[in-house]
Amino acid sequence: MTIPPFIWCIVLLWGLTPAIYLLGRIGQQRDESPGSPIARWAALAAMLAAWIPLGMAITSFADGPARYTLGAMALEFDGLALLLSVLAMALGTLAVIYSIGYMAGSDDEEKFYAMLVAMIGAIVGLGCATDLFNMWVWFEAMAITSYLLVAFYHEQPGALEAGVKYLVQSAAGSMLILLGIALVLLQTGTLDLSEIHAAAVTSPALLSAGGLFLIGFGVKAALVPVHTWLPDAHSQAPTGVSALLSGVVIEAGLFALLRVITALANVTSDWGVLLMGFGALNMLIGNLMALRQTRIKRLLAFSSLVHIGYMLLGFGAAIYTGTLTGAQGAMFHVFNHGLMKSLAFMAAGCFLYVLHAAHSDHSALVADDLYGAAGRYPFAALAFSIALLSLGGLPPLAGFMSKWQIFVACFNSGNAWISGLAVFGALNSVLSLGYYAPLINRMYRKAPSAVIENGPESLPLSMLVPLGLMALAIVMIGVWPVLLDWLSMPSGLALMAALSG
């Protein structure tokens, strides 16, 4: 049996992880410097190399999902996997490029890049898993690499604290998932997701298993009330990692949740209701928490809660009513949110970089540090504005289009409650402008803050390139939303197929 290309993508990413570490280590010893330039370029090379098999997997996707079986274990590159791997690889590559400038010269650079690449590999694997336990293993691999990345600045009390909280809450959730897996195994006698779908009937054990999955994967996907780790972890991680955590890791958790929920679709029709309920809660709590934030990365972290809420609304509507539009819209929003939030984090990271460079400290970037940012760093300020306005759902930017599609699905359900939730979502978008817009106003003031005034003349090119690419993509998708149909359509279809078995 020939090995399909998507397997090569995972193999390359994981296989090159030790190489990145070792090369970086060797280079470090040779130069006797804290940073290791070799690790940066090795990581970039690994990411670019992994694009080759992924590209082949994408082009051959039209022939139907590729499947690879090894013993009892099977991996399948279906629509969900397609979206998740493209998102993870795209953002991962951009994050590596961005970190070339951002992380230059920091201690343990080689570990940073090795973990980053390994995390992307785990996410791609997670997308392809077809049985429950295999999925858990990928999920845990992703979690472990992300713990290390969150606590990367381990000499900083804030990062340590965030790492501990993230680890404990996440690991506890992960044990609940295992208990759920045990209950599913007990009831259905199998771990394969499609066999579970066929065998599942309403029973207390499967209901509790579903509840355990919701909370267990919900920790990673940041459902309120298990979101409490997220603002800490996402704000304390190095910026490139924050971008990935918000842009793809929580979405990976959500995808895992969707896979198990759809496998248990026959157990009860409440899954959709629960998802929509969490969606509404996430939007409201996320917005209220973000409204009064002054620390920018924390604000962006809370805004991730809000956007998970929109996705949950779309997925919930799709699962509850069985309409494709909701699934497709939410998938579209997953991708757009990845772009918007990564862009927001990376652009904010530019100012954080300025802050570091100006004061060489790890204090948080606060809103007032942005005063006059556009004067000296017009490009980063423009990119940040685009990201924020897109998150706020203003056209002609990507966020508008995917939110619209989710709302269309809600109204098309014909259910007054779900339509009401869409209006609630729209009102939340308005509320969110209450904290996005003032940040933009601050940047376009003329009088600069001390941080900006003492900052370097210009930013490294490697930080500006990802900003430019993502900002351009956001505008293009906003003007011409069908650009992403090749991703959102198959993934939406895959979700609906999983739902109906």
């Binding site: 919701l214 928490m289 409204l291």
Partner: protein, 583 residues
């Protein structure tokens, strides 16, 4: 593609291309920025004029975007081409005016870029034949308006005004969003023409929700009560922006929306009454506030709110043609008034009318054009405002409720009072300082002269305008007028309104000196200064939301045990929901 589709591509594409180009030009090359902006705006204006000759009720340009987003269509009907001509032409004049007005300002690239983006979006808004596309452009105009209001970001008032405008219009936008989605969900299409044709097949409840959703959106966008308070706050924008966005174009979008969907909504029970009520109440309270305000731009802002009230009222009484005609007149004379006021502010350096006075001597040109605009505003023949306002009142007299008609007549009197008060305080009376101020600069004069001549002769176009509407708007069944008909129609009610207007003039001029009498109305003045409590309410509401947000923050305790508590709590709630659901 046929000629008109190319024109539509150009009329949106050119200003948007300009917006991108202006963003890329280095801010140190100000002269190049001025030139480029003027060039792009000029081309857009020319295209919009050309498009006037290609009006049709058919879809001219369509871009299919799949099932969810529908077909993006553009229809160059009478509403579309006339309003895009206004947007592009006044946009061009505002840009020309800015060459002098914004001389030496920083961040010109951002300024011009958003003005051009706005022009393209406004044109797109009125030309689009698809509800999603309409909403898309609708929101872009709100974005541009926000950015340009808070253009002077260092000024806290400008920031507050911009945010308020953004939030209020976005809030209104939710109404339009809900309406558009209801139409899509029930008819399976976003096409406005299909909606107008098949509106009667919709369930009454759905159609009512859509109609009132659109009224909500229109009230927020066109600064109608109870949302009118954002427009005075928007006066922090540079004056050319105010003239373009907050007088001549964007604020008309609400009126446009109501006019566009009038055939679908007119049968909805209570809708027309609600529209009349919104329009007339707004016209009244804005008139009162305009009398008490002392900031020149705020007086004009309240006056805009009040005139928009007239247009909304006209739609409520079925006078769609009258409302569009007034919109057309108002766009020109109010742009003229704002730009002339901008000239004054630019010279004097303040917006407070108490620090002006006697400026007529040093600024004769500005005085002349300002008075032309004022005469049109008060409705003195033969200026364009006279004809359109008479038409609005005539439609109201014929079919509308009497209470509303009386309110509108009182409104005409209030208009006369605040207008003459404004002219007097700025150009006559005793000068507040001995300084000699310079009159309008050359580029400013060009804009002002063009607009002033538009005020004097623009109404002559009523015949072709009406014909175009009749030809391209199949669902509206408009009662349009030719020029002779306009004469007889307008002069039927003119004696009454002119009496009221001149009474207003006389009242102000005679009673101006009796300060003791004015003091009697002190309570009204103070109440009006508070926007009749609406902006107070809005501030309280915003404060309450902030307060709730602050108190929710205690849930993030930062304690690890608490985080685990969230996990346990979530598990219990989910299991409870599942048990209840299964039972």
């Amino acid at each position: 593609m046929i000629m008109s589709s190319w024109l539509i591509v150009l009329i949106i594409g050119v200003p948007w291309l300009g917006a991108v180009v202006l963003r890329l030009v280095d801010d140190r090359r100000a002269q190049l920025q001025h030139t480029l902006a003027a060039a792009f705006a000029c081309i857009t204006g020319a295209v919009s004029v050309a498009l006037l000759f290609f009006s049709s009720g058919e879809v001219t340009l369509s871009l299919p975007l799949g099932e969810v987003f529908g077909v993006f269509t553009f229809v160059p009907d009478a509403f579309g081409v006339s309003l895009s001509a206004i947007a592009a032409a006044i946009g061009f004049l505002a840009v020309i005016f800015s060459v002098d007005y914004m001389q030496g300002e920083a961040q010109l690239g951002r300024y011009y870029s958003f003005i051009l983006l706005f022009i393209g979006a406004m044109v797109g808004l009125v030309l689009s034949g698809n509800l999603l596309l309409l909403f898309f452009f609708w929101e872009i105009t709100a974005l541009c308006s926000y950015v340009l209001i808070s253009f002077y970001n260092d000024d806290p008032n400008a920031v507050k005004g911009g945010l308020q405008a953004l939030i209020v219009t976005q809030l209104g936008g939710v109404g339009l969003l809900a309406g558009a989605l209801l139409v899509q969900a029930n008819l399976g299409t976003y096409q406005i023409s299909t909606f107008l044709a098949e509106a009667h097949t919709l369930p009454v409840g759905v159609l009512s929700l859509t109609a009132f959703g659109c009224l909500f959106a229109a009230a927020a966008k066109s600064a109608q009560a109870p949302f009118h308070y954002w427009l005075p706050g928007a006066m922090e924008a540079p004056t050319p922006v105010t003239a373009l966005i907050h007088a001549a174009t964007m604020v008309n979008a609400g009126v446009y929306l109501l006019a566009r969907f009038y055939p679908a909504f007119e049968g909805v029970p209570g809708w027309k009454t609600a529209v009349v009520a919104v329009g007339s109440i707004t016209a009244l309270i804005a008139g009162i506030m305009a009398i008490t305000a002392v900031d020149l731009k705020r007086v004009l802002a309240y006056s805009t709110v009040s005139q928009l009230g007239y247009m909304v009222y006209a739609i409520g009484v079925g006078g769609v043609f009258a409302s569009q005609f007034h919109l057309f007149s108002h766009a020109i004379f109010k742009a003229l008034l704002f730009l002339a006021a901008g000239t004054v502010i630019h010279s004097v350096g303040t917006r407070d009318m108490r620090q002006m006075g006697g400026l007529g001597k040093s600024m004769p040109f500005t005085r002349a054009v300002f008075i032309i605009g004022s005469l049109a505003l008060t409705g003195i023949p033969i200026f364009n405002g006279f004809w359109s306002k008479e038409l609005v009142l005539e439609s109201g007299a014929a079919v509308g409720p009497n209470w509303a008609y009386i309110i509108m007549l009182i409104g005409a009197g209030l208009t006369a009072i605040y207008t003459i008060r404004m002219v007097w305080m700025v150009f006559y009376g005793t000068p507040a300082s001995e300084e000699h101020y310079h009159d309008a600069a050359p580029f400013m004069r060009v804009s002002l002269s063009v607009l002033a001549s538009g005020v004097m002769v623009g109404w002559l176009l009523v015949g072709p305008f009406g014909q175009m509407m009749e030809r391209t708007l199949p669902y509206h069944h408009l009662h349009v007028l030719t020029l002779p008909e306009l004469f007889s129609e307008a002069f039927r009610g003119a004696p009454l309104t002119l009496t009221i207007v001149f009474t207003g003039f006389a009242l102000y001029l005679l009673l101006r000196k009796f300060t003791a009498l004015w003091d009697q109305f002190d309570w009204l003045v103070r109440f009006a200064d508070l926007d009749f409590g609406f902006s107070w309410l809005s501030d309280r509401f915003a404060g309450a939301v902030q307060g709730v947000a602050e108190s929710v923050r205690v849930t993030q305790t930062g304690q690890l045990n608490w985080n685990i508590f969230g996990l346990v709590l979530g598990l219990i709630v989910i299991l409870a929901v599942l048990i209840v659901g299964a039972a």
